[in-house]
């Protein structure tokens, strides 16, 4: 069992990703004496108030001033502390992108960023508080590790793993009551950079990340009723990407659908496309997510449906991709 996982959170089914994160952070505070938590007037919203209560001297609320937030974290990391910064994804990845780049990544500072309310998970708040660009921004930062856990359990495992991971890590989580994907904290293997194979299949692969993963599993089950064999990968780490798992899917199914609560430009789907293109192997790829538009207001689950990132949308896409006739030739040897 990984360091930090000698405890369990029994009530995880009833907790949001952010609440679980708050619990885990507090536990880690006892384990890592140099861990400090920073936020920008979002201690309540990012659920790290519990850490503040247990470690008032190691908690820093800088007010609504995100540029200073990352600068301070950089200085702390340079001087023996382990800063964990929590704020909304829109502010961490966009408002102060240059500070994350220059103060954290460029200077190789060991800062962990937990970005809540990512994608469209803050439904009714609208585009200013959604973030459908962060995977693109963070992927482009040299040295940044990018993770999008699927549920509260994965969030807990990702945060624990990030503590022992050398270098900056960006973990994007949701806001709402994402349904649990896993049964418990230790019912699955979690390793940064290793996709979780949720379902084997031979006709098509659905690669999902973050809060779209449970819908992908549901879609696979629905398609199975129609006689289709759907492989499902939970690609929780967008960078470094699991080339092996993606290539296995390419070779086994030659049809891939990616699903992400993010703009389809330069997000997880694009990262998968890079892998496929570099391999020289032929594969149909359909990217589900926001099709280069700003998000509408709505309940978080409704938005998944609206943007066809839920089980219904994925099943529809499976139907479309299965109809595509992309290569009559079954011989792989002529490709590269």
């Amino acid at each position: 069992m990984a360091k930090g996982l000698t405890w369990t959170i029994d009530d995880a089914d009833h907790m949001t990703q952010a609440e679980i994160y708050g619990e885990v952070l507090t536990k880690l505070g006892y384990e890592y004496k140099n861990l400090v938590a920073l936020t920008a007037d979002l201690a309540g919203s990012t659920k790290i108030g519990r850490f503040q209560k247990d470690f008032p001297d190691r908690f820093f609320n800088v007010g609504i001033a995100e540029m200073n937030l990352f600068g301070m974290a950089s200085g702390m990391a340079a001087s023996g502390l382990l800063p964990v910064v929590s704020t909304f994804a829109a502010f961490a990845a966009l408002r102060c992108a240059e500070h994350v780049r220059t103060d954290v990544c460029y200077q190789k500072r060991n800062v962990k960023i937990i970005a809540t309310h990512s994608g469209t998970s803050f439904g009714q708040a609208g585009t200013t508080h959604h973030c459908t660009e962060d995977l693109a921004v963070m992927r482009a930062m040299a040295g940044m590790t990018v993770i999008a856990p699927a549920d509260a359990y994965e969030t807990a495992r990702a945060v624990v793993a990030a503590m022992e991971w050398d270098g900056p890590v960006y973990i994007r989580i949701g806001r709402s009551f994402e349904p649990p994907l896993h049964k418990s904290m230790d019912s699955f293997d979690f390793e940064i950079g290793k996709a979780i194979k949720l379902r084997e299949g031979t006709d098509i692969t659905v690669i999902a990340t973050g809060r779209t993963v449970p819908g992908a599993v549901e879609a696979a089950e629905m398609a199975a009723n129609e006689g289709l064999s759907v492989k499902v990968l939970d690609l929780h780490t967008i960078k470094p990407i699991d080339v092996e798992a993606i290539m296995e899917a390419v070779m086994e199914t030659r049809r891939i659908i990616t699903v992400e609560d993010h703009n389809v430009y330069s997000g997880m789907g694009s990262a998968v496309a890079d892998v496929i293109a570099a391999s020289g192997k032929g594969c149909v790829l359909k990217k589900l997510g926001l099709q280069d538009e700003f998000s509408i207001v709505g309940y978080p689950d409704d938005l998944l449906h609206y943007y066809k990132m839920d089980a219904d949308g994925i099943v529809e896409a499976i139907g479309q991709v299965m109809k595509m006739d992309f290569e009559a030739d079954e011989d792989w040897e002529d490709e590269i």
């Binding site: 800088v62 600068g71 301070m72 950089s74 200085g75 702390m76 023996g80 502390l81 220059t102």
Partner: protein, 280 residues
């Protein structure tokens, strides 16, 4: 404690050597941020040669005092000082700005020994300094953090986020300078975007602020000593300086923010530095 005459003489001599070397590097590398490097030199010479606990042979010692040049374009001046302290072989400075050199206009701590933070983009250094100072406090470490800000840099919002935070978190184990040379790239700060009344602004943000002549070692030393005694508020020293200080044809002119020197100009610059040093 007032500076002894011998000590004062030594600081002045050191500053002259550093300025001469900045001229040499500017000449060799084809261009550098010479104006601002000249204005900051006396402040930095006082810090490195009089105050800072810093072992050039062990530049990452956890107990060392921290120095952050938030006005990162002054990197050429910082690199020359670190070279003179023997953090690395001075000869390496001749490669400044060249392809593959560890030294570019803006210094990177991962490449240049003795640098504590990679700066260049303005509005970053003070926040980093606050982080370092708070880390000292949390871990019961005794090191002191020094930050040098530019004045044009203060146009930017991130500084004011940091200025507010330093007072809120009562960061008193840090001394901040503003190299107030009154010029940014496009002209006088007060014409481009006024920063005055600067002392009042810092005070309104909860700082203790003093204003000095940034080329007078006695005033610099006195102000730094005062900052060490402050226990309630973060301390800023607004150092009135002259861009291009010591080189008569450069002083007070914005166009020397970044420039190159030909052989004749280099000779004139060195002559001016020596003349002014004798007179001042």
């Amino acid at each position: 404690m007032a500076l002894k005459p011998a000590e004062l003489k030594k600081l002045k001599q050191t500053a002259l050597r550093i300025r001469e070397q900045i001229v040499e590097v500017t000449y060799t590398c084809g261009g550098a941020h010479i104006g601002g490097a000249m204005s900051q030199t006396d402040i930095m010479v006082a810090l490195y040669y009089k105050f800072m606990k810093f072992d050039p042979k062990k530049p990452l010692l956890p107990t060392r005092d921290r120095f952050i040049l938030s006005k990162g374009h002054g990197g050429v001046g910082h690199a020359v000082i670190l070279g003179y302290l023997d953090c690395f072989d001075k000869k390496e400075l001749l490669d400044f700005n060249k392809t593959g050199s560890p030294f570019g206009m803006h210094l990177d701590w991962l490449k240049v020994k003795g640098v504590d933070a990679s700066t260049g983009s303005l509005g970053h250094g003070l926040s980093i300094g606050i982080g370092m100072a708070i880390a000292a406090r949390l871990q019961n470490k005794k090191y002191h953090t020094y930050v040098v800000l530019g004045d044009g840099e203060l146009h930017g919002g991130p500084n004011w986020e940091a200025i507010m935070a330093a007072a809120h978190f009562k960061v008193t184990n840090m001394t901040t300078f503003v190299d107030r040379n009154k010029l940014c790239i496009d002209g006088p700060t007060e014409e481009i975007m006024g920063v005055e009344p600067l002392k009042d602004k810092f005070e309104a943000f909860g700082w203790k602020a003093v204003e000095i002549d940034g080329h007078d070692f006695e005033q610099i030393v006195d102000a730094v000593e005062q900052s060490h005694k402050e226990t309630e508020k973060p301390f800023v020293i607004i150092a009135n300086t002259i861009k291009g200080k010591g080189i008569d044809f450069m002083e007070g002119l914005a166009k020397w923010h970044y420039a190159g020197l030909d052989e004749e100009m280099k000779k004139q610059a060195l002559a001016s530095l020596r003349r002014m040093n004798k007179n001042g």
